[in-house]
């Protein structure tokens, strides 16, 4: 998501599920929606059959999505940027881009510093010592007025468009084929389909998921996809976009509400130690416009943050104490998933609380996670089911007597025993009703959290201790303080006008003087004086495009397609009147909830209101590993980097201590590429508790290509063993025609596929203890530190 924010200003699925039906081309890559999002995928098939759209898949495996696609291209795990870079080159060399769109809505015309360059796999500014980039040279040239220099002809050799052309010129079909292992012809056939939408009357969408994000270059894969879609003029338009298909029911909502390292609800930033005052934090977090004609909506950052602090600390948040700015912890570095485990691994973490989550099985490198868990002082697992994570001390190979970790397990309610809202991948927050009561003995998550809060608060009142002012001052004005209702919380999230005491109806009303409160500005308008907008059930669809504005609530401001200003040209005319996102009537915008004010004229500002450029970024300095993407090999790769031998892998990824030793090294015998994935019959690990699903997909299995299986003497339905440098798994072999051998850099490479859904604590089927993440490496993306689950090396034998 980091890369989408870096490109467009927001990190979320740009369009929504039903909108996919409006597409002319649907590219599914790094995703398998037929299996992981079947009901959303219906709209892709609707496009295929009703619009005559082409549905294509690019994947290391021929999936159930490929089974209904018009064309499938098999690639090597980890070669996505090569493919997408090749598509960008295909567009630019054949002039297939949507020229008017690129000129109007991207930073193609922006001129970049003369110091910027790229050589031998490294962008300018690389600092060997810190494995990081000094981004000074990745900046725009400024004119005398302080704004960025632009060249509307796109001919300046330092303009983004020309730099883009030069950068991706190396991604020739031959190079693509060499890296990805496919044939040039098949790649070009695919390219012709995907690159056919660079016109006003055609539009294409991309559906991607963790198949893109779970790489050491994951964010840059998404960036490449975003650049591709911008060149084709597909962002902001109905039937277009770059659509992140998110996994769990409320992964979008939990991210919006920031159970995430580094952000606060509404994508506000967690303050850093350097920002010693609220003013410094606001200054660093509030972007300044780079061009005169930009809305630069993030300019309202202070209103969002101050309103949030008011929601949290109420009357204790005053101008005098910087609205409680110092009540917030300021982390000393990265605090994401892998870093948490690294802290535990090195014995620095004492306590670990997990709620609604099976972190051990989530991986990566379960053997390492088991060691890390053993070094915790205490752990608490909150879930309706007993989890493998809670029973880690019973895992195969563990000796409970040697593990001092105290573990508490708390049974809590599940979704249907509570009301509340889930925000889906397409940003629709839908209210759900409570259907049944929990059984006796089971408490709600809200109860557990409140109880923990009150008991800690009371302990501090009794005994004193470390700085407890924020705890004592945290607002908790709920009717039943020991178990707030979710309606109360929904209202708090929406926010109030303190003068009138009324619920706010739009984040436009937020103030930075403490006059308003709002737990999360993105959800302002979701629960107003008019009622619970998330519970709306109006089915009308006047646009015919599936926007359904009267159904539930879509952040922001009930907008259904993000960046919809870009669905129209500079004058506000829709690129394609039959699929108009919004249209300017001369007085106002009609259609979707416009990205602008309803009456803001089209020439008032750039289409991308969330960027300080006012346009989308083909070139973005916000990424850690380059303003453009570059193909780097996975940290475990069966081959060298064909583009630059000396820089094989992403140069700015973070290497945690002791991780290099856990990777396949020169001389180790791990010849096969491996990728892990999910199947439609299961959702991660929780469905092990559902008998009908265990019946439908009972056992852990290993998917092996026919040729490799024959070589190893493994029969279909027989048993196979797969091991990496980190661990091994054993299971039933599914020998398939759906994975073919690839020719990568002149050598044959086989791909092995392994599903993730099985655990050791009495999980599904008969194959216990075979967990895909026993194999995966403990390494993450340079931007998000999302682990590289999707490409690593293994060996295989008959078991």
């Amino acid at each position: 998501m980091a890369s989408l924010a870096a490109t467009f200003g927001r990190g979320a699925m740009t369009n929504h599920w039903k909108d996919i039906k409006n597409a002319d081309v649907v590219l599914v890559m790094g995703a398998n929606p037929a299996e992981n999002h079947p009901c959303g995928f219906k709209w892709a098939l609707e496009a295929r059959d009703e619009n005559g759209a082409k549905l294509v898949t690019i994947d290391p495996r021929f999936t159930r999505t490929s089974a209904v696609a018009d064309k499938h291209l098999q690639i090597r795990p980890g070669s996505d940027i090569a493919i997408l870079g090749g598509l960008i080159r295909h567009i630019l060399t054949n002039d297939l881009h949507h020229a008017d769109y690129v000129r109007a809505h991207t930073n193609a015309s922006f001129i970049i510093s003369g110091d910027f360059g790229f050589e031998d796999g490294l962008f300018s500014g690389f600092e060997e010592a810190g494995s990081r980039y000094d981004k000074t040279s990745w900046s725009y040239q400024r004119a005398a007025d302080g704004y960025v220099r632009r060249d509307p002809t796109l001919e300046d050799p330092q303009c983004v468009f020309q730099l883009l052309r030069r950068h991706y010129d190396r991604y020739t079909p031959a190079m693509v084929a060499q890296i990805a292992g496919c044939s040039e012809e098949k790649f070009l056939e695919m390219a012709d389909i995907i690159c056919s939408t660079g016109r006003a009357d055609r539009v294409g969408t991309i559906m991607y998921a963790v198949g893109w994000t779970m790489h050491t270059v994951g964010s840059q894969i998404i960036r490449t996809g975003a650049i591709l879609q911008l060149l084709l003029g597909n962002i902001g338009r109905p039937g277009g976009g770059i659509n992140a298909l998110r996994g769990h029911a409320n992964v979008q909502g939990a991210t919006d509400h920031a159970i995430v390292a580094g952000i606060l609800p509404g994508y506000l930033k967690v303050p850093t130690p350097e920002q010693t005052t609220l003013a410094e934090h606001l200054e660093a977090s509030t972007p300044q416009p780079l061009v005169p004609d930009t809305v630069n909506y993030w300019g309202n950052y202070p209103k969002f943050l101050v309103s949030q602090l008011k929601a949290w600390f109420g009357d204790s948040a005053t101008a005098a104490n910087e609205f409680g700015y110092h009540y917030l912890g300021k982390p000393d570095g990265d605090a994401t998933w892998l870093s948490i485990w690294d802290e535990a691994y090195h014995g620095r973490l004492e306590g670990f609380i997990t709620l609604g989550f099976n972190p051990l099985l989530a991986g990566p490198d379960i053997p390492r996670l088991l060691k890390s868990m053993s070094r915790l002082k205490w752990m608490t697992v909150i879930d309706p089911f007993m989890l493998d994570s809670a029973e880690f001390w019973k895992a195969p190979g563990m000796n409970p007597a040697e593990i001092d970790t105290e573990v508490l397990y708390l049974p809590t309610t599940h979704w249907i025993e509570r009301d509340g809202s889930f925000t889906n991948s397409g940003r629709w927050a839908q209210w759900k009703e409570k259907a049944i009561d929990p059984p006796d003995g089971v408490r709600s998550d809200t109860w557990v959290l409140s109880e923990l809060f009150w008991r800690v608060k009371e302990l501090y009142q009794q005994d004193g201790g470390a700085y407890d002012e924020p705890i004592q001052n945290l607002t908790w004005a709920y009717l039943n303080p020991r178990e707030p209702t979710l309606v109360e919380l929904a209202k708090e999230i929406n926010g109030y006008d303190h003068e009138t005491g009324q619920l706010l109806s739009s984040f436009g009303q937020l103030q930075d003087d403490g006059g308003t409160s709002s737990g999360n500005w993105l959800y302002t308008g979701s629960y107003t004086e008019a009622g619970n907008m998330m519970a709306r059930r109006g089915t009308a669809d006047p646009t015919g495009l599936g926007m359904h504005h009267d159904w539930a609530f879509s952040w922001p401001a009930n907008r259904r397609v993000l960046y919809n200003r870009a669905s129209a040209d500079a004058e506000g005319r829709p690129w394609d009147p039959s699929r108009a996102g919004i249209a300017w009537t001369g007085r106002e915008w009609i259609g979707d909830v416009p990205d602008y004010g309803r009456t803001t004229p089209p020439d008032a500002a750039g289409a991308f209101i969330m960027t300080e450029e006012g346009v989308a970024r083909l070139f973005s300095s916000q990424m850690a590993d380059g303003p453009f993407s570059e193909h780097y090999e996975p940290v475990e790769s069966p081959t060298g980097n064909a583009l630059h031998e000396s820089v094989p892998v992403n140069p700015v990824i973070n290497w945690y201590d002791g991780v290099r030793e856990t990777l396949a090294a020169e001389g180790d015998d791990f010849p096969h590429a491996c990728t892990i994935y999910r199947v439609v019959e299961h959702e991660h690990f929780v469905t092990a508790n559902v008998p009908l699903l265990v019946e439908a997909m009972p056992d852990f299995f290993i998917e092996l290509p026919e040729g490799l299986a024959a070589e190893k003497g493994i029969e279909n339905g027989g048993r196979a063993r797969v091991w990496s440098k980190r661990g091994e798994v054993e299971g039933v072999a599914i020998v398939t025609k759906r994975i073919k051998p690839l020719t990568v850099n002149g050598q044959t490479v086989w791909t092995v596929g392994i599903p993730v859904h099985w655990g050791f604590a009495g999980g599904t089927g008969s194959t216990h203890a075979s967990m895909a993440n026993l194999l995966t490496p403990f390494i993450g993306d340079a931007n998000t530190r999302c682990p590289e689950f999707k490409a690593f090396l293994v060996n295989v034998e008959r078991a």
């Binding site: 009901c39 110092h326 989550f357 809200t446 009908l692």
Partner: protein, 192 residues
Amino acid sequence: MPISRRTFLKASVAGVGISALGFDLKPAYAAVRQLKIRNAREYKTVCPYCAVGCGTIAYVHGSGGLNTTNTIIHVEGDPDNPINGGTLCPKGASQMGLAISPRLRKSPMFREGGASEWREVDWDFAMDWLARKFKESRDATFTEQDSQGRTVNRTNGIAWVGSATVANEDAYLITKTMRAMGLTYIDHQARI
């Protein structure tokens, strides 16, 4: 071979002369069972699995009266929901199996250091233990000012993870509470 009524009758009557007239249809109708959701109450909810956000309807038996307990008998897609239009994948179609899974737990469990088994504990013990541990670790690892003298007010000794499966309102409350407690190691399934 076309069979007419006449030939059939010949076939059946000629040999034995037993007429099948007046055949009783009741058993055939009796075989069609009554619609099991006929008298159920409906609750509109959302599928707990992926992020498509399919609308579902939970069918529940029970009067809803004081001291009564509802029993869930069926869940199927909500046809009005524009996203799924009533459809559900195998996970969604079997979600009642999750709601009433025989493996749902009903009691807090505690494992002492070095123990090889769980022991059942009550909620009061559990929450008291958790609050004390929480405070202990917070007190032990809280940093008010870092080495450069800057106010940081953080605790690095406790991590909170999850969840992408709770409602927005609970997610918000988790963030609000844990940030106020000074935690910085906070993450959930978004990354994995």
